[in-house]
Amino acid sequence: MAISHASRWIYAVSFALVGTGFLLPLWPVVLAGIALAALSGRWISGLAMALLVDVAWGAPMGLAQYLFFPFTITALLLSAGRLWGSSYFYDRSTLDTL
């Protein structure tokens, strides 16, 4: 199945954000990349990038250590939010005309 133009851009930008945030390192930029992928419906790529970052950086310190894999959890929550939102907000009105 051919990837649409918009999808290509979203994949590229989200990957670039995650890569840049990893190299800087600046975790909000990583989070932005994952959020872009998850909220735009490309949840598999968002989840994959989040898993990769969690494997690389490990669990955070302090109280946040009980999150174990914070980026993956964030990707899952955002993907679930996208799914829930699509039931109520997205594509509710069709473009068809009578």
Partner: protein, 249 residues
Amino acid sequence: MSSNSFNFIRKRRPSRLPRLLVVAAVLLVILVVWSAQAPLRSIFWQLATPVVMLRNALGATEASSLRAEVAQLQARVADRDALYQENVALKETLNRAAGRNVILAGILQRPPLTPYDTFIIDAGQEEGVLVGSHVSLGCSALVGTVTEVYKSTAQVTLYSAPGSAHQALLMVGEESTPISIEGQGGGSLRAEVPAGTGAMEGDVVILPDVGMGLTAVVRHVERVSSESFETIYFSLPGDLNARFVEIWQ
């Protein structure tokens, strides 16, 4: 006519099974990745290290290098302070007093206003300065001795004064070698030691005093393969442009 006059097209509810399968697969993948995170992390960093090192090389600036050097020096100072405290405690345990009376004095004149490698300081008889007292630029870095005392000033002759010679210990690793260091002027000293001593840049020379002050730092070692001696060049520790000195009584 079809018996079914009214064909009710039942909208079948989409099955939830595919969604549940997807969720289960995702959770399974996460579980597998997390249980094997250690080897995966090792593989990841093996692959990512060249990229991160390239990023570090591109991002290195003089400011960042200097900050790193400052941090390293601060760590060494902290280590030195801890060792100094341990040294003092050990000496007290062995019933050898390691404390000393220290007089702080300002430097009034320094080379080249004074003859080579002498300071004039603003502390003298009135402040209790005595001839022969050791002079430090701070901490344990000794640089000379008081050679003349006046009413309110004194003259300090540095160990590097031309023509002066001192007995000291060259510290190479954990070994100490007694040497005689000679002043060459300008904060520089030299010594000749048997070949094979193993001295390297950065090694230190200390005075075999109770305070074990740091006197000089190796800057260059001249070795000639056919010679049985090697020449070591030292410099005094610290900055000779300092504003204050400590006189150890």
